[in-house]
């Protein structure tokens, strides 16, 4: 039972990272019907932007939570701007080409970011500065760290904010309209290019937050860290039902849980395998995902 509760906490913290990254996949898929394979690498950039922000801000440290917030905001803004650039330079020019063209471009952007990362940041792992001094609590043998709690709490707050934005604001409404029917959204006077850019920016800053949060917990970062996390977050988005925001969160949490439970009760060797087993199972039995409604009929 003790192992179970311990893994529950670990799963929640890992799962909320997957959920944050999965949200970007699902939102971009919603507006462009594109699996943005470069998204995992944007998450990697988020960790590096956070790393440099933490080093630059180091002399001006105040208290842990303000430092963390500053580093996170800096990384989210930097990743948002990067995404704006990627969308404008790589995806917009091929928007009217076939979906396969866009997919190949996305893989190209992913390889480019990974290689650039190795050139600019160096291929060796870097150690993310400690923003929050670790404290641990024990409760019936279950260990809680304050770092894990921060990860879970911040991820939760970001998801609530995203939800408020998408369901309570005029721009959020426009985003849902674009994702349902692009042409009809244009007819409403919505500047759909701007909404698509904004979707990239929001999705990428959530990935950036994920990159910083994961580094608070597990401080080793490297230019290829986005590959596996990106794939798993993609599986999470498909599992929840791609295009569905709640689905991405649900998928992320399930995947995180599944992974740590396999590691806890079975063998760590198989922790990566479970994600892909889930992907195969979902594609066989419920291709639309848990909350997906199947192909939306476009008129």
């Amino acid at each position: 039972m003790q192992t179970f509760f311990q893994q529950l906490i670990n799963g929640l913290s890992l799962g909320s990272i997957y959920a944050l990254v999965a949200l970007g996949y699902t939102m971009v898929y919603g507006v462009l019907r594109l699996i943005n394979f470069a998204h995992g690498d944007v998450y990697m950039l988020g960790a590096y932007f956070g790393y440099y922000a933490a080093r630059i801000l180091h002399p001006y440290r105040v208290v842990p939570w303000i430092d963390t917030l500053a580093v996170m905001v800096a990384s989210m803004v930097a990743c948002g701007l990067t995404a704006l650039l990627i969308e404008r330079l790589a995806y917009r020019p091929v928007r009217h080409a076939s979906r396969l063209t866009m997919l190949i471009i996305a893989i190209g952007v992913s390889l480019l970011l990974e290689s650039l990362g190795q050139i600019v940041f160096g291929a060796d792992p870097k150690f993310f500065p400690q923003l929050i001094p670790e404290k641990t609590w024990r409760w019936h043998g279950v260990i809680f760290t304050n770092q894990e709690m921060v990860v879970i709490l911040v991820a939760f707050i970001l998801m609530v904010l995203l939800n408020l934005f998408v369901y309570r604001t005029r721009t959020g409404k426009a985003m849902r309209a674009v994702s349902f029917n692009l042409d009809a959204a244009k007819l409403m006077g919505i500047n759909t290019d701007r909404i698509i850019s904004l979707t990239f920016v929001i999705g990428s800053s959530l990935a950036a937050a994920g990159g910083v949060l994961v580094s608070i917990n597990i401080p080793g970062i490297d230019p290829l860290m986005g590959v596996m996390t990106g794939l798993k977050a993609f599986v999470a988005a498909v599992l929840g039902g791609i295009g569905n925001i709640f689905g991405a969160v649900l998928g992320g949490l399930i995947l995180g849980m599944a992974e740590v439970m396999v590691a806890g009760y079975g063998s760590s060797t198989y922790r990566d395998a479970i994600a892909f087993l889930i992907l195969i199972a979902i594609l066989l039995f419920k291709p639309a995902g848990i909350l997906g409604k199947g192909q939306v009929e476009k008129v």
Binding site: R176, F180, N181, M188, I190, V299
Partner: protein, 234 residues
């Protein structure tokens, strides 16, 4: 108010419109009739910038619309009710209407415009919190028209508003169209139901395989033997 001058539009290798010219005068209802695949929807899409003519001009109040992005054309005062309605099925009726008034930033005016829609279509008011996808076909058509007039357009383009509706519902919709027109909105109506369209409009154009083959006052065309034979089934 609106004029098309020698507009030709292609979809890939298919010539959808060839040298289409037409005029819509302010204040009236003009109609474009023709068989399935004649290019009626393409004409409306070419006006709205959803299809791009490779030659000819689309002019609205003297301003050239070619190459203007669709959302700007909407802001100039033209609304299109697309074929098949294209309501946002996963949004509520109220949200659909609010999106129709997307460019209206004054909340009070937005509220007033919504009240106006409820006056024209009282049925929508009972359905506000419902997802648009759960409405009946007729109600979806009401919503699509209501959403379009939320933008207070000066020109309303309607693509096959009678399509798939029961005769009674067709009357409700066409009475609403007449009312919207009487309130000052100019209308260009595209219809397969030529009989209905000719009776509800002042001026008509007949489109056949991408070309305008005839035009004139609707009452005259309704008596024309060729129109009678080809489109009125007499």
């Amino acid at each position: 108010m609106l004029s098309l001058k020698g507009v030709s539009t292609r979809y890939g290798a298919i010539q959808a419109l060839s040298d289409v010219s037409l005029e819509v005068a302010q204040g009236g209802i003009a109609t474009l009739i023709g068989a399935n695949g004649a290019g009626k929807s393409t004409t409306l899409r070419s006006i709205m910038g959803l299809a791009h003519p490779h030659s000819g001009d689309v002019l609205f109040e003297g301003k050239r619309l070619n190459r203007v992005p669709t959302h700007r054309i909407a802001a100039l005062g033209i609304s299109l009710v697309p074929e098949g309605r294209a309501v946002f099925a996963n949004l509520t009726v109220a949200e659909n209407l609010e999106l129709g008034g997307y460019l209206q930033k004054d909340r009070n005016k937005l509220k007033r415009d919504m009240d106006h829609v409820y006056e024209v279509f009282p049925r929508l008011k009972e359905r506000l919190a419902q997802m648009a996808g759960t409405l009946s076909g007729g109600e979806q058509q009401m919503l699509a028209i209501g959403r379009a007039i939320m933008a207070r357009p000066r020109l309303l383009l309607l693509d096959e508003p009678s399509l798939g509706l029961a005769p009674l519902m067709v009357h409700v919709i066409f009475d609403a169209i007449a009312r919207i027109n009487a309130e000052g909105t100019t209308i260009l109506l595209v219809e397969q139901n030529a009989n209905l369209a000719l009776h509800r409009s002042q001026h008509a154009y007949v489109l056949e395989t991408g070309r305008i083959i005839m035009h004139g006052p609707s009452s005259v065309l309704a008596q024309d033997p060729r129109v009678k034979e080809a489109y009125l089934g007499e």
